[in-house]
């Protein structure tokens, strides 16, 4: 392992998916990334490659990013077939080049799913996730004044589980990792974070039906327990949330 402050550098061959727009055919192109500091993040490596491309008059690689600290959900590509790259529980912006070796070939491509359209290169239109949230991923209660802390008892375990589910950043890695391009880990997390807490219960039934209905309508696949989503989720959301969502859906359908 390299230590921070170490000036070691590596050279890489990048095979990057280039696609001018949603209706244009894309293809892989090969680039060289030279003198990549192992302290760089993956996106900083792309920044450097892009700077060179701009200076030589080429179209830089478009990729999504924003917070660069793993909490906004904007970034994410497949890296050598793995969503967000090889490190467990890590978003692409938090993946550092010390996990690559000199001479490696790195294949970079966007999430592949019928529901996510490519905007350009590695940038996707993930507004379908927003549509699922709009269908029911909220609590429509006017909060009013703040109640006393102990007025609504919440068991510690429920609070922890709701918090773990709420760690979902909506990046879409679960969809990309799933052979069925299913969004059930995402929807499961969103349903769970509310269902586990008393404030979410009054609308639980409506929420489960509406969000799952929307998910199906938008063209996401079904869950067949491959568990790839859980393995690749940068926030390590458990598939327990999918089971909880299924229970909620069943309950809502029966009552």
């Amino acid at each position: 392992m390299t230590k921070a402050g170490n000036k070691s550098c590596i050279n890489l061959k990048l095979k990057v998916w280039r696609q001018k727009g949603p209706d244009v055919k894309g293809r892989f192109e090969t680039y060289k990334a030279r003198d990549v500091s192992t302290n760089m993040s993956f996106l900083e490596m792309l920044d450097v490659v892009n700077e060179e491309m701009i200076l030589s008059g080429k179209d830089p690689i478009a990729f999504d990013h924003d917070c660069r600290e793993g909490i906004c959900g904007a970034c994410g590509t497949m890296v050598n077939g793995r969503a967000h790259g090889p490190e467990k529980g890590t978003t692409l912006c938090q993946l550092h080049m010390r996990h690559f070796s000199n001479g490696d070939t790195v294949i970079i491509e966007p999430w592949r799913s019928r529901a996510f359209k490519v905007v350009k290169d590695l940038v996707l239109d993930r507004s379908v996730f927003d549509k699922i949230i709009q269908a029911g991923g909220y609590i429509s209660v006017n909060t009013g004044g703040a109640p006393d802390g102990n007025a609504i008892p919440v068991p510690q375990e429920s609070a922890e589980k709701a918090m773990d589910a709420a760690a979902c950043i909506g990046c879409g890695a679960c969809v990309a990792a799933c052979p069925n391009a299913s969004a059930m880990l995402f929807v499961g997390a969103k349903v769970s974070q509310f269902t586990l807490l008393p404030q979410g219960l009054p609308e639980a039934k409506k929420r489960a039906l509406a969000m799952i209905g929307k998910m199906d309508e938008l063209g996401f696949g079904n869950c067949t327990n491959e568990t790839e989503c859980e393995k690749e989720c940068p926030k390590e959301i458990s598939i327990e949330n999918i089971a909880r969502m299924n229970r909620e859906f069943l309950k809502a359908g029966l009552s």
């Binding site: 390299t2 921070a4 170490n6 727009g21 200076l55 830089p60 478009a62 600290e69 010390r98």
Partner: protein, 447 residues
């Protein structure tokens, strides 16, 4: 958002560029609410998200909304240090770490030993020594400045020597690893991902970084700017934090502005003003749209030799060195000239690839950096005007014998609001006096 549309002196809509299609969009409205965040990214490196920018607020400034206290910038003491020129952002390690962590550097600038080989007696716990009552919990601006002083003395640690230790060893020994892991486990994980060092085993290294901007568009108690109908919320306005934001109060402001104030004050505005229905085909929309289009074409046509990021990095460096944690008259004057020169060069030598049609991230950045450059001049102008040290604005020319901030309440107990007077003219300076009815102004002391 690239422009604010003002009709008969009132904010009546915006011009936006659709980032995907590249089309300019006109949106007419009865009022405009800006909640577009702060200007920390003027410094290039900050804890802000990469997309954060000042363009919406600054377009409003150019349309007449006064900009208040632009020189007030909070620099947070506990961030992961810079490690290379390619660095794109700085990551905040939560302030809470200072509850259990002890900040130190080696006593001797020559000491290059790894931290575990430096005995207690040769460590300088400078915050605990200087501020025995507050210790490691002194306010952010003080902790940041003290870290800078230590590094300026050559006592910084790590590869760049621009870092200090934040050591949780004593807390781990006292409370046990499990307790510390429950409190800070996620932060330690994040730290290890970025630095490849394990904070359970070796002290963390931290250095201050730009984090929050207290200045912003001037607003009244109803959150309305100097342009009627333009409301500004959250970090984009100047209102709540004075010269030095306190921990967690940005969240408070987000909630207060969005939940408790604007729903009522905007209703009040709408009820009291008579409006013709604003229409997108009004000539003001066409004029604004044309101006925006001209600027985009200009940016694309320059075809120079330096990338947008290159300019942005240089601007950030100028601001960080001369208008950062500590300021001096001499440096500020130098920065003023450097930024003006850099801005002039930008408009002649920037290289923005691609076209205005469709998705173009270089073009997005170019517009933002153009605004940051112009804003940088305003920030420095404001810092120069405020001839005192006040909160996060620490001017070395105004300090006590103990090197603490020396305010001048006689002459500077006011908000500085700047009104745009067109390109090339000095903005008009307005003073809003600060009136304190229930508290008496005193010198801060953490001894």
């Amino acid at each position: 958002m690239l422009d604010l549309v003002v009709i008969d002196g009132k904010a009546r809509g915006i011009i936006a560029r659709n980032l995907v299609s590249g089309e300019l969009e006109k949106h007419a409205a009865d009022a405009v609410v800006l909640a577009s965040g702060g200007y920390g990214n003027a410094f290039y490196l900050s804890t802000n998200a990469m997309g954060s920018n000042i363009s919406a607020a600054f377009a409003s400034y150019r349309k007449g909304a006064s900009f208040a206290n632009p020189c007030f910038v909070q620099i947070h003491p506990t961030c992961i240090p810079v490690h290379g020129t390619y660095q794109s952002k700085l990551t905040l390690m939560s302030e809470s770490l200072r509850n259990d962590g002890r900040v130190w550097v080696p006593r001797s600038p020559e000491d290059r030993r790894p931290p575990d080989q430096i005995p207690e007696t040769e460590r300088d716990y400078y915050l605990e020594e200087k501020y025995p009552r507050f210790g490691n919990l002194v306010p952010r601006d003080v902790a940041s400045r003290r870290a800078k002083v230590q590094c300026d003395m050559g006592k910084g640690v790590g590869g760049t020597r621009l870092a200090v230790y934040l050591d949780l060893k004593d807390a781990i020994e006292k409370d046990g690893r499990d307790v510390i892991a429950r409190k800070y486990g996620n932060l330690f994980e994040m730290y290890e991902k970025i630095t490849a060092q394990d904070p359970y085993e070796t002290p963390m290294m931290i250095y201050p970084a730009v984090h929050y901007t207290m200045g912003g568009l001037w607003v009244d108690y109803n959150l309305m700017s100097t342009i009627p109908g333009l409301f500004v919320l959250g970090e984009a306005n100047f209102s709540d934090h004075g010269a030095n934001r306190l921990g967690a109060s940005a969240l408070m402001q987000g909630l207060a502005d969005g939940y408790f104030i604007i729903p009522y004050s905007i209703g009040d505005y709408l009820a009291k003003s008579s409006h013709d229905t604003a229409r997108e085909d009004h000539s003001a929309f066409n004029e604004s749209s044309l101006q925006v289009e001209t600027r985009i074409k200009k940016l694309l046509s320059i075809g120079g030799k330096r990338t947008v990021d290159d300019f942005h990095r240089e601007l950030g460096h100028i601001l960080w060195e001369n208008c950062g944690m500590t300021r001096k008259e001499k440096d500020l004057k130098k920065a003023k000239k450097l930024i003006a020169d850099l801005r002039a060069e930008f408009w002649e030598n920037v290289l923005v690839g691609g076209t205005g049609k469709g998705f173009n991230q270089s073009l997005e950045k170019a517009g933002r950096v153009a605004d940051f450059l112009q804003f940088g001049e305003l920030m420095v102008m404001d810092a120069l005007e405020r001839k005192e040290s006040c909160g996060c604005h620490f001017n070395e020319d105004f300090q006590t014998d103990e090197h603490e901030a020396l305010r001048d309440d006689e002459n500077f107990c006011h908000v500085s609001a700047w009104e745009y007077r067109g390109e090339g003219s000095k903005p008009k300076f307005h003073k809003e006096p600060l009136e304190f009815e229930n508290v008496e102004l005193t010198q801060r002391s953490y001894k």
